[in-house]
Symmetry: C2
Subunit: 265 residues, 2 copies
């Protein structure tokens, strides 16, 4: 009933699309996908549903805008650390994807290779999706609703620029970039899904214990139907999520190099 102590917080700023999207992201982060309702939103923003509908067409558009804002921030910061440039969606732009990661262009280090650059962007997306687990579902939904929207091109552009820096023939740019983006979104999405369900477990069960649980469950599958899965069940234990993710990126990068050098049309 009583929502913390935040109720009717005497609106200071005027309502705006930006403020609404910001509140939506907060709600999604703290209360999950099912926590984003117009009633929760109106309470948090101390207004009525009609006011929100003045700035936003409907819930789908709101979810799309929230997704776009977070992705835009994650992808923009990837470019040059510190130089945020033109972050159109400003929600949390300063902190998104800040964790520097393996081969990120650092402070005094020599310019990174295109490969390291790609790893950096990939990790930025991976971390953003890990921080906002609802992105896993929403990215899929958003792409269904409008692939001509802004979120796909944003990701595509960010990866594609680095692909251009590899020695891949121009005729393969689209195929290669698509493959990278698909792997990144697939892997990051699955990871976020894992995190989301780890979070919903009985409290006191932390991340490691969760992987342990899944690993054990896989180890106890029917030996006739799932021999392989049983066999690798304990390989998933102790593996760091981000390392695992990067290993996959490297696999695709290796494939790109191999395919290009051998020149098999």
């Amino acid at each position: 009933m009583a929502t913390r102590t935040r109720r009717s917080q005497r609106r200071t700023e005027a309502l705006s699309r930006e403020r609404i999207v910001e509140a939506a992201v907060e709600l999604l982060d703290t209360a999950g996908e099912s926590g984003l309702t117009f009633r929760a939103l109106t309470e948090r923003l101390a207004t009525g549903p009609g006011a929100i509908y003045w700035h936003v067409a409907n819930k789908d558009e709101l979810l799309g805008a929230a997704t776009d804002a977070v992705i835009a921030a994650a992808v923009t910061v990837g470019t040059v650390a510190g130089t945020v440039g033109a972050a159109t969606g400003t929600v949390g732009a300063a902190t998104e994807g800040s964790r520097p990661a393996t081969g990120e262009p650092g402070t005094t280090e020599p310019p990174a290779s295109p490969q390291d650059d790609i790893r950096g962007v990939a990790l930025g997306l991976f971390d953003a999706i890990a921080r906002h687990p609802w992105l896993a579902t929403q990215l899929a939904a958003q792409l269904s609703r409008s692939p001509w929207g802004t979120v796909t091109p944003r990701i595509f552009e960010s990866i594609g620029r680095r692909v251009r820096a590899l020695d891949v023939p121009e005729s393969s740019w689209f195929t290669v970039t698509s493959a990278l983006v698909h792997y990144i979104l697939g892997a990051a999405g699955q990871n976020a899904a894992n995190n989301a369900s780890a979070r919903s477990l009985p409290p006191g069960v932390d991340r490691d214990r969760f992987i342990d649980t899944v690993s054990r469950a896989w180890g106890e599958l029917d030996p006739d139907e799932y021999p392989f899965t049983r066999a690798v069940a304990d390989q998933m234990r102790g593996h760091d999520d981000r390392e695992q993710f990067l290993a996959g990126v490297d696999l695709v990068l290796a494939g790109i190099t191999a395919t290009h050098h051998h020149g098999q049309e």
Copy 2:
């Protein structure tokens, strides 16, 4: 109002979980994700909501069961054409993934390479997701709800067995299989998303015109923010979806071979 001519069809069979899941899949296929409601379901099954709740815990479980049934069928048929074996979820098992595809183990052909085998399974999943576009969203949702569920192991097992047939060291099985599965689900999901929104366009606009539209939209993006995406906009035109998908699979396969042969730990 009037639902075709199927209303109150004098239930012949007794209600069962299987029949409910089957009806759910049909509803999802014909009416989309928003078309699956308990009211539509009760009408189609000529029963009340209470009856459904006797067999199924809630909507999430129903969606999970529908997803699992379709994935199980798609993945099982991939093994040996015609020998369906133990198809636990029988929804449309006969027709799922039947289109033989490039390197599928055919009638009189020599046994396919592990690579061709992997391409076959990947295409089976790709086609299943293309036929049931709601899978794109539901796979993501399902993995969030219960990664210890049966759908992940099913896909993992199916790909993993073929990975074992490649000359990859056992210590890399998990990483390599994960990478393949992530790419497949990511790419198939995005493709299904495209199909889904192509379908929701004003009628008379077919698949080709849709890609044309997106391609043109990408070609008209801001040159300052999206130079790369603009440049490859017309590469996406005329590209066959399945070929594009297989090219990505080949890229990952090439990466696996390259990484293994060079032995870079």
